[in-house]
Point group: C2
Chain length 345, copies 2
DNA sequence: TGTCGGTCGGGGAGCGCTCTCAGCGCGTGC
DNA sequence: GCACGCGCTGAGAGCGCTCCCCGACCGACA
């Protein structure tokens, strides 16, 4: 049962429908400029033969692949510990499917892999790329830029000093942080602390900036560095309690961090939100709803981010195909966040 | 900056190296049977020109694609709420990368999408498929079987009555469940309950079977149906406490379920593990380590499952390519689980 | 009814590659 | 010294498809 029963070709379809290969091709590709009765006959032949176009042959001449690479360049195992990428993938997948494009997933293990990804993208196997590279100093954006593949980034990429213009989609990390902190201040809290995320990621930096927008640099001891993990949150919370026992509110860089902080607070007998109010970021459901008490947090619509990334890329691709030249599109799209009030603040 | 500066072809490489296209091709594909000096010259030409083979042209003649589809057929949004698939993907990705194969991700939204996936697989765009379809009565396995694509399933697929032979990789759900329940019994618990997973999934059924292997059908009221979610766990736990107030141990079908059960137990003032011991399944880190108290659970090596799936598929593919005919490989590979003792039991 | 314009269909080239096959050159054995 | 054979290289066909271009056909108008 090897597939020696080779799949039917366009030729076969044409023969069966009694038309030429070209006509069959036209029908398969939309049927414009072919009279209805013929269209019908070809359609039936396709049906009967179970014809499926050979994508390789098609790509060879059209130079299109109807495929988009999704590059997730996260060295940490952390990546999939949260549903973040999964949700983005879902959004991306939906959009690509609607556009008859395939999703080629490229996961990298550490920086050595970057070269492989660069080579793949430069190899012209895909029409475009969606890239998640949220780390400062990451060589990947530069590499990809060099590959000359249409790309949309997930999260604001760090271009170092050379302010390169790139299309990206990001959450309003800074604005969301501001809203969270303002909420805490509005609650009458005066000693508001921030446990940052891993500061080699733009999202962490942006959230810290948002915090500072509201709080200024008043008391630098109120800012402790975390790393987006629960363990980091615990560590930071302990340090915070030691430094500033009078802290009455904490804005954690993400929900995982908040969950760690919450645990330490409980352990130390601080009541949440009575003694210390806590806000997270992400609204990562399995975490935010399961903490004790349920976490007030800043929600970002992750799936929508993915969908938007795909949409921007596809639009760019279509535009290029249409020779409509210069991309007047936006460099960055920033999605709004919303504060979700639960119990912790 | 359109890519009109079309990429160099083999022809160009051959010309530059002063050899024929055939020889250049041989070198690019390993260089067997070409004398060293020529190999060297071709290599240099490739380097200088930045030549990358056109995969479409290659596939057209070889009928190989060096690509594998990963099908995740989960209607629920639940899918990515847990890191399960992410970890599997990581394992799969590693293995495929090592084999120079690409990963084409197919996410389906509900059953309507099944047809699309079937068509894609039947279309011969990929060399093989890794399929996650863990639901009873799912038409997908049948569909894929019909497509005639080499496939490895993740999780034991349900073939209904027709006991079809398929290659799959699964955790030892039944054995793991047995170990968990035995552990509870070993703790001296006599009223051991089970909150099942969604019973339309083979994993849930297998875990229930494991529970019964140890406990028999003694008291059917001790088995409550859950759905793998925290909310389901809460609901089931409430029902359980009502039915059997004397319950002194709970084996939950997964960690999420356990976390819900834990919450209800705390709310009702039952101490864990003193009054009621609780065991989960999965060892889903962000959950199991964060519960209060930390969860004793059955760990499965998820990434390894993914890696193994890929390895089995690639081996099958290589074998077919080598014309070594009939696959003597195993129908199913079941990975062992280990009990991870934390505090809850 | 004849002719012209517009539209639709068919033939053929060629995308970049692999692979078969023939041929050439060299070494070896008698 | 000649014939045979083996190992390496090159020429060419063709994978399945799209798209260009020309020829044919049909309808309409005079």
């Amino acid at each position: 049962m090897t597939e020696t029963a080779s799949r039917p070709t366009l030729e076969a379809v044409a023969a069966r429908a009694g038309v030429s290969r070209a006509t069959a091709s036209r029908v398969v590709n939309g049927g414009d400029g072919v009279r209805e009765p013929l269209v019908e006959r070809v359609r039936r032949a396709v049906e009967e033969l179970g014809y499926v176009p050979n994508q390789a042959a098609r790509s060879l001449v059209t130079r299109r692949h109807d495929a988009v690479a999704v590059v997730i360049a996260e060295p940490e195992t952390r990546v999939f510990a949260d549903p973040f990428f999964g949700l983005q993938l879902r959004g991306i997948s939906k959009e690509l499917t609607a556009h008859d494009s395939q999703l080629v997933l490229l996961l990298t293990e550490g920086r050595d892999d970057h070269a492989r990804v660069g080579r793949y993208l430069a190899g012209g196997h895909v029409d475009g790329a969606l890239v998640f590279s949220l780390h400062l100093d990451d060589p990947l954006p530069e590499l990809i830029h060099g590959a000359g593949v249409p790309t949309v980034f997930g999260g604001r990429p760090d271009w170092g000093d050379g302010a390169r213009r790139a299309v990206y989609v990001d959450s309003d990390n800074r604005g969301g942080a501001r809203e969270a902190v303002r909420h805490l201040v509005g609650l009458g809290r005066t000693r508001v602390a921030h446990i940052t995320g891993a500061l080699d990621q733009t999202s962490a930096v942006d959230r810290l900036d948002g915090f500072r927008d509201v709080m200024g640099d008043a008391d630098p001891r109120l800012v402790v560095e975390g790393d987006f993990t629960p363990a980091g949150g615990e560590r930071a919370m302990r340090e915070l309690l030691e430094r500033c026992p009078d802290v009455d509110a904490v804005f954690a860089a993400n929900d995982l961090t908040a969950s760690g902080a919450l645990r330490v607070l409980r352990e130390r007998g601080r009541r949440v939100p009575d003694d210390v109010a806590v806000i997270g970021f992400d609204d990562m459901l399995p975490v935010a709803e399961q903490t004790d008490p349920p976490l007030t947090t800043v929600r970002q619509d992750i799936e929508e981010m993915g969908r938007l990334m795909a949409r921007l890329l596809l639009r760019d691709l279509d535009r290029r195909a249409g020779k409509q030249g210069a991309d007047g599109g936006p460099a960055g799209v920033v999605l709004p966040t919303t504060l979700v009030r639960r119990v912790s603040a």
